[in-house]
Structure formats: structure tokens, C-alpha cells
Amino acid sequence: MNGAAGIPTTVGSNKQDMPKHVFIWLVLAFELLPFYMMIQISMKTNREFNVNQWIPNAPWNWDVENYRYALELVLPYIANTVFVAVTGTVISLFLALMAAYFFARYRMPGGSILWSIFLVLMLMPGVANIVPLFMLIKGMGLMNTLWALILISVAGAQVFAIFVLRNFIEDLPKDLFEAAEMDGASHFQQMLNIVVPMCAPILGTLFILSFLGKWNDFLMPLIILRDPELFTLGVGLIYLDGEYNKDWGRVMASFFVASIPLFIIFLFTMKLFVKGLSAGAVKG
């Protein structure tokens, strides 16, 4: 069993599941290879890495200096990043959920025009033009504030979330909504009591994806923020992006330390969305 990721090696009790586990572990071996590389490189000094890139060092001479450097580099930025990422993700998912509910519930007049507006934005190729956006933020007096970051990231994440959520809401059985309507539930209540629990799994996935996007972003913070105290994680990590001689060990250690809070929040969201909510809802 591939012990690199530290997963307990005892397999589940059921026998027929064995072939499934083997297949999954085979695929995961390839998927987790980059993660394994990241961990073993982060234990090496640049000199050791240059000589041997693949085989991890023996445990007794694992280099902890990289992690000391990483902690020192990353800690000042964690708080701001969590603040921006969490607020941004919650707002963007909430707005996307409402918009997706509108499109999925009824084919309202004018709905197809609105949908094409969203679609056009999603398909427009990468001509994201920072300059007018910057002028807009300046005009709104939001320069050098974290809220500017949040608003921009919310706008950015909307289209993808609506596109995905609409499909899922349309899949929900219609009689659920009719039943709720009979009891006089308003659209808002219908959304919260039926759609959110039933679509918990996809909501969890969208939460992780949009959270990840905001966690590593460093272009917007650099352009909008001026005071170093406000910088987010992405900006902190740019110091490692030396063009000529990258210090691989430090890059890997810093990315690993930077992703620990990410990891904790993933574990939490996965648990919340996968098990907690879906247990409560009525199954189809």
C-alpha cells in the first residue's frame, strides 16, 4: 500500500469491495505522486535537490530549515486570506444559488436573455482587462481594502457556480416544490429547505473550488492593496517565484504550510456537506 500519504493500511471489512479498493488505489497512486514529490522535496536543501530529485532523504537528515522559513513567510498572511476567502466564497455561493434557483425553477419570461448574458461571460476568452477594473475600484473608493478583493472574486466565481448549480436544481423532483408550495412556503424558504440540503454535495464541491481559487490569487491583491499588513497569502508566496534560481525546497515547504488551513477547511466542508446535511433531507 502506498504509505506515503499516511493513510491507515487496513482495508475495509467487506470482501467484495477489495477489487474496487485496488482500482482506486492504483489511480490514486498517480494522482498523489505530485503530493508525494512536494513533501519529499520540501525536506531537502537546494543542494540535495539538485543532486537527487526523486528519492526522499533518509528521515534523520530531513531538513526542517525550509519549514522554519515557510512559517515565517506564511503566518502574517493567513488571517487576511481566510477572511477574504471565506467571506468571498459564502457570498458568491449564496448569490449563485439564488440565481440558479431562478433559472431552474420556472422558465420565466426574459429568463433566456438573462441566461445568455451569463453564458456570454463564461465563454468570452481570456481578455480579462485589469485596467478598467482597477479604475472602477478606484472610482468606488475601494482602493487598498480587502472588500475590493472580495467583490471582484465574487463576480469572478459567479458564472461557473450558476452554470453547475442550475443543472443540479433542475434534476430535483418537481413534486417536492409543489408540496412545499402547498404548505405556503415562500420561494426563499423552498430554496433553503429543499434545494440546499438536496444539493449539499455539489455545494461542497463548489465551495472548495472557489475557495481554492481565492487562496492562491496574487494578481488582484498586488494591484489593489498597498499596505503590506493587508496582503494575502498569494502575495507572500510570490517571493519564491525567483525567475532565475528557484529554491525548490522552500517553495514546496511554503506551499505545504500555506495549504494546512486550506486542508482543515476542506475536511470540515467535506464532512458538513457530504454527511451532515444530506442525512436530514428526504431521500428520493
Binding site: 469491495d17 514529490m37 440565481a99 420565466m108 481570456g126 481578455v127 478598467p132 453547475v164 467535506m270 431521500k283
Partner: protein, 316 residues
């Protein structure tokens, strides 16, 4: 699909419009500006500076006859068809995880799927570049050991005539024009898209346990279970992933840029429309023309998405 609604009832339900207003407002203020800039600049001879000259549809006429753009669309179509088949492993992975008995394992496999997302792109590029290395790379080693290389040499000599597979010469995966597209297809083996798997899993989640018990009673084989129960239910997710894959492949060029450079590798064999747009803007300094190509690409994707919505009907 959404329920049809009569004019009268729609008026009574006017409050529904309030649901979409905030999201629409957010987008119109923050995201619509860049899109407008691309449309605006595609009618100018613009070199990136302040000076722009109105040229009307000249950029578009030139793009219509541009042979390299035509070649780029051919390459991107081959990649789309390849990506179509590359969706199968993600579906298989989602189904296998879904069918596991223990809830605990399902949870931990989901977490393990998300882990690679936090790893910087640097590492994955490093691994895959080594995979294709002509002298030490595992791909060439496997082909030698399994004797497949001899087959390829025969194929090359008799059928392909590329003069790329030869005895004693390491296969130059990324430095000979004929092998660029095959390398891009092989890239990313076992082709598991964590996002795809999670979305399929979310789709499978809605299948009730009673359906499986009924199937087990009738003695349905695992594959039939997939065909008649699981696949129909996740058809909307498959269609969704199909659209996202097409958009991603048509617009995407990050991999080609990092691996082959703005010229698209030897004799521009790896040129895709997105990369050609980058090349025209940054290597040749023709930003106006790049915007025009962007417009053509946009229309192309719009048409594909429209066809996808119309003809990949999903009956519940």
C-alpha cells in the same frame, strides 16, 4: 428542464426576479467591462500601446484566410475528441467510489482526490517533463522493455513514414512535430479530473439505496447496473462536464505555452487557438488581431454549446 409557466402566473411570481438581480448586478459591474474591451479592440489595428487605427473587419478577413489558425482548430478538435474519451476514467472512478460499502472510505477518498489541487503546477510539469525525457524518461523505457517500440518502428517504416521511431535513437517526444499532438494526448495519464469525479459523485449521491437492492434481487450484473441505473441518472452531469471540457480545451493553452513556448513547439505542431491568440499578441505584437481571433473562438464555442444544449436531450 425548468417548468414552463403561463404569463399570468409569472406576474404573480414577480418576486422570483429579485433572486437573479444581485448576481446580475455584481457581474455587470465587475465582469462585463473586459468582455466589451475584446469586442471593441477587434476592429482596430492596435499594437498594445495608446495608438489604435480603425480597420473595421480587416482583422476578421485576415483570420478567415489564416492557415495557421485553421491548423490550430484542427489540432484542438483532435484534442477535444481525445478528451471525450478521457472523461471515461473520471466517470469510472466516481462510480467505483460510489459503490463502496463503507461511508468512511468514501469520505477519505474524496479528501484524497482534493489533495492534488493544492500542489503547485510547477511539480506536475516537472514530473511530466521527466516522463517524456528522451534519455532517462520512463515512457521510452517502458516502450523499450515491453517491445512496443519495435512495433512502432514497423508502423513508422511502413505506414506513417514520419521517420521518428528508429532503432538506437531515443524517441524525441517533444522535439519532433509528428509526436507533439500524441504527447499532448498522453499527458496526464490516468486522466482523472478531480473536479469531474466530485461532480459525478454529487450526481450519483441522489440515487436511492432501494434502487440498488431491487437490482441485486434481479441478479443484474455490475456493468448492467451502470448502464441502466447509474448512467441515465448522471446524464445531466455528463452533459455539463462535456460542455466544460469543450470550453476548457478550446480556450486553454497553459499546458502548450509552458511545454512548447509561444511558437507551439517544432514547426508549430502544438498550436491551439488559445496559444495562437497569445502568440499574435505577445510574439508578434498584433493585439487587435488577437482580439479578433478571440471573437471567432468565442462564436465557435457559443455554437458548440448551443448544439450541445439542443441535441444532447436528457429524458428524466
Amino acid at each position: 428542464m425548468a417548468l414552463p409557466i403561463s404569463k399570468r402566473k409569472a406576474l404573480a411570481e414577480w418576486k422570483l426576479y429579485l433572486f437573479v438581480v444581485p448576481s446580475l448586478a455584481m457581474i455587470l459591474t465587475f465582469s462585463y467591462f473586459p468582455a466589451f474591451s475584446a469586442v471593441y479592440h477587434s476592429f482596430y489595428d492596435w499594437r498594445g500601446g495608446d495608438s489604435k487605427e480603425w480597420v473595421g473587419a480587416e482583422n476578421f478577413e485576415r483570420a478567415a484566410m489564416d492557415s495557421q489558425l485553421g491548423y490550430a482548430f484542427v489540432v484542438v478538435f483532435i484534442l477535444i475528441i481525445a478528451n471525450l474519451f478521457k472523461m471515461v476514467p473520471s466517470i469510472a472512478m466516481a462510480v467505483v467510489i460510489h459503490r463502496l460499502k463503507s461511508e468512511k472510505w468514501q469520505y477519505w477518498y474524496r479528501v484524497l482526490l482534493v489533495v492534488p489541487m493544492i500542489v503547485p503546477g510547477l511539480v506536475t510539469l516537472f514530473i511530466w517533463k521527466f516522463f517524456f525525457d528522451p534519455n532517462f524518461g520512463p515512457l521510452n523505457a517502458i516502450l523499450d522493455v515491453t517491445g512496443l517500440k519495435a512495433g512502432l518502428i514497423w508502423l513508422d517504416a511502413h505506414l506513417l513514414g514520419w521517420d521518428v521511431f528508429a532503432e538506437g535513437r531515443p524517441i524525441p517526444w517533444l522535439s519532433s512535430p509528428h509526436l507533439i499532438v500524441p504527447s499532448m494526448i498522453i499527458w496526464g495519464f490516468p486522466w482523472i479530473g478531480a473536479v469531474g469525479v466530485l461532480i459525478f459523485l454529487a450526481g450519483l449521491q441522489s440515487i436511492g439505496t432501494d434502487v440498488y437492492e431491487a437490482a441485486d434481487l434481479d441478479g443484474v450484473t455490475p456493468f448492467q447496473k451502470f448502464l441502466y441505473i447509474e448512467f441515465p441518472l448522471i446524464l445531466t452531469q455528463v452533459r455539463l462536464m462535456l460542455i466544460l471540457m469543450m470550453i476548457g480545451t478550446l480556450q486553454g493553452f497553459g499546458l502548450q505555452l509552458l511545454l512548447l513556448g509561444p511558437e507551439g513547439g517544432p514547426s508549430g505542431a502544438g498550436m491551439v487557438p488559445g496559444l495562437y491568440m497569445y502568440n499574435r499578441a505577445f510574439s508578434a505584437g498584433e493585439f487587435g488581431y488577437a482580439c479578433a481571433i478571440g471573437m471567432i473562438l468565442f462564436v465557435f464555442i457559443l455554437v458548440l454549446t448551443f448544439i450541445n444544449n439542443k441535441y444532447v436531450r436528457v429524458q428524466k
